[in-house]
């Protein structure tokens, strides 16, 4: 299939000298569900802003839907739909008015527009709330309206910048359903950025893992995880007496485990410790026995095939998850001021 997005050696240097995007190259095939996974500050939003004509790139070549970004930004705008990280609906207009306005600005008129708007409102489950002001919608409804309004002009490529950030789990699952549906039924190419591993894993056929403005790994979620070549075993431990310092117990367990030859790597996590072992299932009896003559008790064992987080860890030496937590704390404290 032809490439609907082709990016070659893209660089974005901000006025203050920060290299937000540092030589990124990738290709997206028509009809593909493609993802950019990375922690906050990896350059995901900057990349999407460049691809959607909102931000001028420093260097590199980009083509979207067959048009060169430098020569034909207007043609590109006709063919793309963009949902930004902020939920950008006009709170004082009704859901329907928001969508009609988007259609008008994309030069649609009359019955064709009305029909399309009605159809989309139905699809995202906002038919009954269509004539209420968007300001009175819940967070999930606003996101759905935002998504629907980017689809009015039947774009060929849909860009989604962290489409589920700030949504509760149920709204997130609903959103995922729509996106899969759009990709499968309407054949629309989707470029999505996310910091959620689960989201990338579930939705994307292919993804780039990005960190600090660079692509660190590229492939299908399954393929990337296979590269790890080991299972992840997450354990929780405590002192047998039930008392004692948790951190010290954890450190002692880590010390003990890293001496076992089968264990490829041990990493601290929130839950306890994660160790990487080939054939994890067969290793469990050994694992349990190794704590026999110690003062440490195993309270849980969880074997899993490696996650995308493990992939990220392998390539960058960091976890995405910790970054994610930092982000949520900081938006809670400072981000809310803007609204």
């Amino acid at each position: 299939m032809p490439d609907i997005i082709a990016v070659d050696d893209l660089v974005e240097v901000y006025a203050d000298g920060t290299k937000a995007v540092d030589g990124v190259s990738f290709k997206v095939s028509e009809g593909e569900f493609f993802g950019f996974l990375g922690p906050n500050g990896a350059g995901k939003s900057t990349t999407i802003k460049i691809l959607t004509t909102l931000l001028r790139k420093t260097s590199g070549t980009v083509s979207v839907a067959g048009y060169d970004l430098d020569k034909n930004p207007k043609e590109i705008r006709k063919l793309i739909g963009v949902q930004s990280q902020e939920t950008s609906v006009d709170p004082e207009l009704t859901g329907r008015e928001n969508m009609i306005l988007q259609g008008h600005l994309q030069q649609m008129r009359g019955k064709e527009l009305d029909d399309r708007v009605n159809y989309l409102l139905e699809v995202v489950g906002l038919k009954d709330a269509a004539d209420k002001r968007a300001g009175r919608y819940s967070g999930g409804m606003k996101k759905r309206l935002d998504l629907a309004s980017t689809l009015v002009h039947k774009p060929k490529v849909l860009f989604l910048d962290e489409p589920t950030t700030g949504l509760d789990p149920q709204s997130r699952a609903t959103m995922w359903g729509y996106l899969e549906e759009l990709n499968k039924r309407e054949g629309i190419t989707i470029f999505l950025t996310t910091q959620y591993l689960e989201e990338a894993d579930r939705l994307c056929q292919r993804l780039c893992i990005v960190d600090a403005g660079k692509v660190v790994a590229e492939g299908s979620p399954i393929g990337l995880k296979k590269e790890i070549g080991a299972d992840a075993i997450t354990i929780a431990v405590q002192n047998k007496t039930g008392a004692g310092d948790r951190a010290a117990t954890k450190a002692a367990a880590k010390e003990l485990l890293s001496k076992i030859p089968e264990v490829m790597n041990v990493v601290d996590t929130e839950e306890g410790l994660t160790l990487y072992v080939k054939n994890g299932g067969l290793f469990v009896p050994d694992l349990v026995r190794s704590f026999d003559k110690t003062g440490i008790e195993l309270i849980s064992i969880n074997i899993s095939t490696p996650s995308l987080d493990d992939v990220f860890l392998k390539h960058t030496g960091k976890r995405i998850r910790t970054e994610e937590l930092v982000k949520e704390v900081s938006t809670g404290r400072f981000g809310s001021r803007r609204r």
Partner: protein, 257 residues
């Protein structure tokens, strides 16, 4: 063509927002109405002082000034709307569509002009109820509304430029509120030039509000009209509007690209 269609769509959008938030109109009308009702009563004997145009009541005199106050203080808030769109992401959402770029500003300016006109009609109606009669009849009234709307646009331009530059609604709002009274008092909006100390006369002569007020006053009080003064005032107002809207367009281009 697209630019006209898009301007209309965005004009309608802004108008809907305004109609659904009538409190905004109430707030911007509040001060001029206080001035019109209380000020003109409080100072009604001002016309007895030497130097005040003979045979003119204070209500007649001050109405022109109050109309202008309404125009520039409302228009100075215009930039807050573009800041809102900038911070909510709505502006970016528009910019990834094919929308004509200048239409985004033109739609805004059209709304401001419309708003100032509606508010001016309300103030004129109230002044009429208080006994103010316009000397130049319907054609004069229309010309006055045109001058006010056009003058408002110049200030909208300043406010939009401020909004695009600072990206802060509070700053736009604050600067607007800060500018209103000095500009109003140091002009011929409320008292004749001869009433002021000489330094203030100098400021007032340079104050664009004086020009606009005089242009409106000449049309509203019998015997004040002179074609040459009217034309020069109009030219002056047009000049300011061109400059401020030009700056806004320039800044907007920078934000957009």
């Amino acid at each position: 063509m697209t630019i006209l269609f898009d301007t209309r769509y965005l004009f309608v959008r802004a108008l809907k927002k305004l109609v659904r938030n009538p409190i905004l109109i109430f707030f911007s009308l509040f001060q001029p109405i206080i001035f019109l009702v209380l000020f003109t009563q409080l100072f009604h004997s001002l016309n007895l002082l030497p130097g005040f145009p003979a045979g003119v009541s204070y209500l007649e005199y001050a109405s022109a000034g109050i109309l202008m106050q309404n125009a520039f203080s409302s228009s100075l808030q215009s930039g807050t709307s573009i800041v809102e769109d900038l911070n909510s992401g709505f502006l970016q959402k528009m910019l990834v569509t094919q929308v004509s770029r200048p239409a985004i500003l033109l739609g805004r300016l059209a709304t401001d002009a419309f708003r100032v006109t509606v508010q001016s009609v309300i103030i004129l109606g109230l002044a009429y109820a208080l006994g103010f009669r316009l000397a130049s009849g319907i054609p004069g009234t229309l010309l006055i509304l045109f001058i006010i709307a056009f003058f408002g646009l110049a200030w909208s331009g300043i406010s939009l430029a401020l909004g695009l530059r600072t990206k802060s609604a509070e700053t736009v709002f604050g600067i607007g509120a800060f500018l209103t009274f000095p500009l109003l008092f140091m002009s011929t909006a409320l008292v004749p030039l001869g009433f002021m100390p000489s330094w203030m006369q100098d400021v007032s002569r340079a104050n664009p509000i004086s020009y606009a007020v005089n242009a409106v006053r000449d049309l509203s009080i019998p015997g004040f009209f002179s074609l040459s003064a009217e034309l020069s005032a109009l030219a002056f107002i047009a000049g300011i509007a061109v400059v401020t809207i030009g700056i806004t367009l320039y800044l907007f281009r920078k934000v957009v690209s």
